[in-house]
Symmetry: D2
Subunit: 150 residues, 4 copies
């Protein structure tokens, strides 16, 4: 499915908002690809963010997937909207073992208020991608004062 | 509901495993309270882990909630089990604005293989607790070789 | 937590809407208790709605839990709102074996647009209640034309 | 992704188990297509199973999606396994308005114990398919006595 963005300058708007997420910088997560309604984030293996067996912590994987869902949805919103995560659900499918991790999100249903996104996380090891987690996220567009207080 | 732990030394076992999660140290998350089937984690506000509006990133909140669910479940498992997160789902209810955050998890259903936990995140500001997120998590006990490869 | 309903006549409004859900009549689900932000539904064992082992189908349990969440949220909405389910997530904790099933839902966070509810399903057998499923649901209040087209 | 079934007779095994779900017969849900790790269910519009606005109840949509996920997973299990739903999560994307509904599920990750499936529900109206709901489901294979008591 391809989408027509309401804001032709969505690319700059998404990147500017992403750059304000200090969590992304701290975790070493960056934008690898960006389109209207779709995004790919990238993170290198980071020993500082593991669980007890040395794999990347499920919550950190979810953090990247949530940002991916949020910015996929945000790319299709009008330029005066802010985006909030209403909820997300993630299944951990395989240990997050790899040199690099990719997080691919796309909008399943864009909406005036509510958007739904799907995302998948992949571990890359020796050039091979392996699915490690899935997410479905529900995002909300908020406007005006509400966008500031959230 | 109160539970009888299979491992009388669950406290030491949980704390040792938690200490191996480098993600907890990096994010400044620590154990505030620990019982059989219940745990409270604590995190101070950390400017390095925010989203675009300066609140703690939803994924970081989920990271703490996931560890809380995992260790609540782990506390009731036998001493040769490892714990894996099968999936979790989190609703973001209010912005993560506060000086301190508390994450309270408890086991809803302990199981030989599958356990289910509920958790809630609270922001503490001026001494008042406010509910900011909920999680339901499904955890799995794994044994032997499987515990190592995950 | 107790709530002050925006519509003092919420009881009649909830019951009238519930009566229009033909699914509830067909499944034999009725309102056992109703308050502001909380509801209990009741269903007898129905051999016509089982899965392959003779227990009530997980989806039928979810149907009752979804209506319970929806009407708990609806009870706190203004009298010109319609309620839509945005999403729900349910954990099946024990087989739905029993003579009677109770579905208890309460609002966790009421909102102008988005409300979050928690619900639990219990099987009653020989007078003993057993937890069989949990749900977290996200509900949306819609107004005007949007309420009709949905 | 295509899968090699452990049981070459999975087709007969899935259909026999599906036929024992009285809920499917009562709701008018049948198997439209079946493969290894994938299934399509079909349901006609049924006025007896609506919510308050005359659309099929979200829980009934979830019932079909849950059976679809369950049998997609079951098709890949060995012939002595029983399948249980651990949990599912569904997003309602558009009203369930249509003459016919299709429920397409496929296995995302087959596992010895835990399998994960994705499913989508479509409303068909005037020959056009419209996405109305998504589900992610977690299923468990159980063996022996446990399979009977569940």
């Amino acid at each position: 499915m391809s989408f027509v963005p309401k804001d032709p300058d969505f690319d700059a708007r998404v990147r500017a908002s992403f750059a304000r997420q200090t969590a992304m910088t701290s975790l070493g997560i960056e934008i690898a690809e960006l389109g209207a309604g779709a995004i790919v984030l990238r993170m290198g293996y980071a020993p500082a963010y593991t669980q007890q067996h040395g794999f990347i912590h499920a919550g950190i994987i979810a953090t990247a997937l949530d940002s991916a869902c949020g910015y996929a949805a945000f790319s299709l919103m009008p330029d005066d909207a802010a985006v909030l995560t209403v909820e997300f659900k993630t299944n951990l499918i395989a240990p997050a073992a790899g040199d690099v991790f990719l997080f691919r999100a796309r909008v399943v249903k864009p909406g005036r208020t509510i958007s739904v996104c799907d995302a998948k996380a992949f571990a890359v090891q020796a050039g091979r991608e392996k699915l490690i987690a899935t997410m479905t996220g529900t995002l909300m567009a908020v406007f005006g004062r509400e966008a500031i207080t959230h």
